[in-house]
Each structure stands twice: as structure tokens, then as C-alpha cells.
């Protein structure tokens, strides 16, 4: 086979055929500020040793999460990942066969995906779960689109306490699909009236549990109100470990439960790759996006696994598919499955308890002046500082403590400059808690 690169003439032909003037015209949907104006200024070349030396010096400028007292959460949580998880996911039987192109001969891959689905369904209290999505935010976006298909309506109500990045993904998908969004203004705590906004045009209500600011709320009444109007309740979570201890969203009457699975088996990974969890009711199965693995028996009556209900998917259903996702987060889902298997139900509950205990200890150390704004919490709280949180976070970092997230960085222009979002997981030691409490005291005095 010959390989002939494109020339200018070929490019012009193709552009003329699809009716655009230039290649840049294909990128009009990307904001100007995000577009590259000129090639990235890189030196022509350097020796391998020099490159390594340079990159090592660049890396040394980072403060690694594992090297300091670390209290950052906000959708990505630093949990201990047992060494056995990394060992097992790197076995070549799993690592090199990450996607089942010929499903029936990759029984091992299908079996762990089936177990993954079972774990996600149990964790969320739902009846069915898929083999994973890209991450929590795209799961949330897909959940809204699914609710529109189920209800044949097109308006979603979004809680002001949904992670702003998740809201951003839902906004993008809704804008492109021509769907309506009712985004409730951001408030840190207190009553949020979502039920009063639901009407007979509403397709779904999207809430987070625990919410972005750390509160844990029971949505049973909201689910009932939604159902009374023929709408669905979508419950989103960013901290999967919380579900090891809290009431399952399925038990509150949620119709779709989606979230981020990074917390279990996966490191922070600079923000990705992560693994999106997606679960729903059996009756909505046909409208669910993503790959689905099923258990069956072969002609000899032996247990076996298959990819099933593929007619929902793009490679068969084309433009009528439930989603354009054609894959899953295979390796991250595997890490999730292995860690969950190692933990077991009791272990997960113990891990969750440890997390909550650490946060209770931190709250006690911070004292009444820095009491959480939220009345309920799992392993994350929001506190109001006497000074802008941005300055405090930077001053703490200078003291070698990564002390949380300046809320206004993710929620700008809504008067939350003094709010700090703090997470404490099982990886936080008593010494870390002391370093944080002391550092905060110094910075604020």
C-alpha cells in the first residue's frame, strides 16, 4: 500500500466539497482564546539526557499531593490505592486487551466488566449499570440527554450545588442539542427550592450528593415531586467512597445515578483519565448510553459473558443511537473493580467511616470560628474565612500545606471569594491535621 500525504490541492478539493473556505473555519466552535495562533515555541532538539534533566527540574516545581499535608477535593480525591491494584491492572491479559473487539473470546474482560456493573448498581442502589463512561461530568451530561429521551421533554433543572465543571458539560451538550436549562443560582448551604421549579415541561432535576460544598441531603421528597410531574431525578456524585456509608440514591427514588469513580482504585492522575459511573432503573435500560455487558449461558449450559443490547449503540444504530460513546474507561474501570473487590462491602463502609472520622477531627481542630457552613458533611466541608480564600490557599502552599480550594476559582462572580472548600480522606494523618490547623491559624492571624 502506498502512503501519499495530502498536498494543498487535495486539501482545497476537500474543503470545496464540504463547503468551507479554510481549515480554520472547521474550528469556529472553539473559543478564540483557546485557539493556537502560532506553533508552540519548542527548541528544535536536545539530547535525551538534557530533555530528562529539564523535565525533572520542571516537575520539581510542582508540589506533589503525596508529599505534603493535602486537603484538596472538589471532584478529585486522594485515596490510598493498594499496590495490588496496580499490579493486577498491569497484567498483560488485562492491559493489552482493554477493549473487547471480539467480545466472545475476551471472557476475562467481559467478566470484570460484568462485576464492575454489579458493583456500581449495588453502590448506587440501582437495578442496572453500564460498563462505564469517560468520567463523572460526561456521565452527568449523558444522564440529562437520556432523561430527555425517556420523558420526551427537553428542559432540565440544575441544582446550584452541582460541581461547576459538571454543569459546564451539561451546558455544552444542551446548547449543541438545542435543549433548555434552568440553572438554579449558586448558594453554599440552606434550603434550595428545586421542587417548586418542576413543571409539566420538566424532563429532569439534577442534584449532587454529597453536593459540591459538602452537604449531604436526602432527596426522597424531591424524587416524589419530580415523579408527580412525570420528570426524572438525576443524582450525581463526585466522591464514590461516600456511598459506602450514606443512603443509596436508588433508595431515595432516583431514576438515574451517575458519578465519578476515581476515588476507588484510581489516583489523581492530574485530573484524568477517570471513570464515569452510570446506573439507572431496569425500565429505562433501552435508553441508557454506553456499552453493556451481560451474563448468559453457552450451548453447553456453562456461564459466559456477552456484550448485550448493542442495538442502542452507535456502531449499529448510527444516528439513532442513545449516545456517541463507543467505548468505556476500561483500565480505570478495572482498577475500580479490583479495589472494590479487595475492599468488599464491609471494607468500603470502613473506608468511608475513616474518611468521615478524619473530617470530624479536622472540624474539631479548626474550632468554632471556622465551623463548616454546611450543616451536614461526609469528608468535605466549606468554611468562610475572614480573608479571600485565594490568598489563604497561596499562603498555606508557601508553608507546605495544600489546604483546599478557593471556591471562587470554580464559582467566580457570585460573592464566594472568602469561601474555602476542604476535603479530608483516610490518607490524612493526625500530623497533617495539626499542620493544617496551625498553618491556617498563622495565616489568618
Amino acid at each position: 500500500m502506498r502512503y501519499l500525504p495530502l498536498n494543498q490541492h487535495d486539501r482545497q478539493d476537500m474543503l470545496a466539497k464540504i463547503g468551507v473556505g479554510s481549515i480554520d473555519d472547521l474550528f469556529v466552535d472553539v473559543p478564540q482564546a483557546a485557539r493556537l495562533k502560532e506553533p508552540v515555541a519548542l527548541p528544535k532538539h536536545a539530547s535525551e539526557m538534557n530533555v530528562e534533566r529539564h523535565l525533572t527540574s520542571l516537575a520539581a516545581q510542582n508540589t506533589a499531593a503525596s508529599s505534603v499535608p493535602f486537603f484538596v477535593g472538589g471532584g478529585a480525591y486522594k485515596h490510598h490505592v493498594p499496590a495490588s491494584v496496580d499490579y493486577i491492572i498491569q497484567r498483560s491479559e488485562f492491559l493489552t486487551s482493554y477493549t473487547p473487539y471480539q467480545p466472545e473470546i475476551t471472557q476475562g474482560t467481559l467478566q470484570y466488566l460484568f462485576e464492575f456493573q454489579t458493583q456500581v448498581a449495588e453502590l448506587t442502589g440501582m437495578e442496572v449499570a453500564n460498563a462505564s463512561m469517560y468520567d463523572g461530568s460526561t456521565s452527568a451530561g449523558e444522564a440529562v440527554l437520556m432523561a430527555h429521551r425517556v420523558t420526551r421533554r427537553s428542559k432540565a433543572i440544575i441544582s446550584g450545588r452541582l460541581h461547576p465543571h459538571y454543569r459546564g458539560v451539561i451546558e455544552n451538550l444542551s446548547e449543541m442539542g438545542g435543549f433548555e436549562l434552568d440553572c438554579v443560582p449558586i448558594t453554599v448551604a440552606g434550603e434550595e427550592d428545586l421542587g417548586g421549579k418542576i413543571d409539566d415541561q420538566t424532563s429532569c432535576v439534577v442534584v449532587q450528593y454529597p453536593d459540591f460544598f459538602g452537604s449531604v441531603n436526602d432527596f426522597t421528597a424531591l424524587a416524589q415531586t419530580a415523579h408527580d410531574h412525570g420528570a426524572l431525578l438525576i443524582v450525581v456524585f463526585t466522591e464514590a467512597v461516600a456511598l459506602g456509608l450514606l443512603k443509596a440514591p436508588g433508595d431515595m427514588g432516583a431514576d438515574i445515578v451517575v458519578g465519578e469513580g476515581q476515588s476507588i482504585g484510581n489516583g489523581l492522575n492530574f485530573g484524568g483519565p477517570y471513570v464515569g459511573l452510570f446506573a439507572t432503573r431496569q425500565k429505562f435500560l433501552r435508553q441508557m448510553p454506553g456499552r453493556l455487558c451481560g451474563e448468559t449461558v453457552d450451548q453447553d449450559g456453562q456461564r459466559g459473558y456477552v456484550l448485550t443490547l448493542s442495538t442502542r449503540e452507535q456502531h449499529i444504530r448510527r444516528d439513532k443511537a442513545t449516545s456517541n460513546i463507543c467505548t468505556n474507561s476500561g483500565l480505570c474501570a478495572l482498577a475500580f473493580t479490583i479495589h472494590m473487590t479487595l475492599l468488599g462491602g464491609t471494607g468500603l463502609a470502613q473506608l468511608a467511616t475513616l474518611n468521615h472520622e478524619r473530617m470530624l477531627m479536622l472540624v474539631e481542630k479548626l474550632g468554632p470560628n471556622l465551623a463548616p457552613v454546611n450543616e451536614t458533611f461526609f469528608n468535605e466541608v466549606t468554611v468562610r474565612l475572614p480573608r479571600p480564600a485565594k490568598e489563604v490557599v497561596e499562603a498555606l502552599a508557601a508553608r507546605g500545606v495544600l489546604g483546599g480550594i478557593d471556591v471562587s476559582r470554580l464559582c467566580p462572580d457570585v460573592g464566594l471569594e472568602n469561601y474555602l472548600l476542604i476535603a479530608a480522606t483516610e490518607t490524612v494523618t493526625e500530623a497533617d491535621l495539626d499542620a493544617f490547623a496551625l498553618g491556617l491559624q498563622e495565616v489568618l492571624s
Partner: protein
Amino acid sequence: MSQVKFTKDHEWVRLEGDIATVGITDYAQVQLGDVVFVEVPDAGLKVVQGGDAAVVESVKAASEVYAPVSGEITEGNAALGDNPALVNEAPEGDGWFFKMSLSEPHELDDLMDEAGYAAYLKELG
């Protein structure tokens, strides 16, 4: 006197009074193989001739079922939810998909009668 008409997409439509019943033909069910799922429209849905109205899935394929004429759905065949195999067993009987009222009854004139459909199938080979 009811009369059955056929589309080139292998739907049949039978008008009785003001209400038409729609399904897929025996030829279509043979082509599809074992039907495993049917999604029928809800009453009240407005459809146009040739537009999407229902979905039929078999072990081999997933296909759209189109409205043979324009109008409003009055009933989807709920029995197909529990027993999609009715489409294979009685495609032109109990395996009907939906009933509808007609907004443009003259559209029926565009469709084939039984002899016309038989000739069309012969053409397809």
C-alpha cells in the same frame, strides 16, 4: 369494508372507519428474524407520512417503522412490550404496532394495494 394498503418500507395500514391500524408485513418479519424488542409510540403523538413512528429490533438489526400516512397516534400495541414475538407470529394480526387517526386521508391513494405489493416483492426478488 376494510382495505389494506402497503408501503415500500414494508408497513401495512388497514383503515376501519376513521382509525387506521399499522404494522409490518410478513415479508418484513421474515427479513428481520426473531423480534426481541418493539418500541411503540404513545397516544397523542403526531406523525407525518414517512416519518419515524416506532422501532423494531430483532436479533439481526434495529429498524425504524415509519408512519404510512400522516395523523395522530391513538394507541400503541402494549402487548408487544411483553411479547415482541407476536410480530413474528402474527405480523398482520395481533402483532400490529399502532392505531392512528388520519389528517390527510388522500395519502392512502399513494400506497400499494395487495396485488401491487405482491408485484413489488417479486421485483425485489
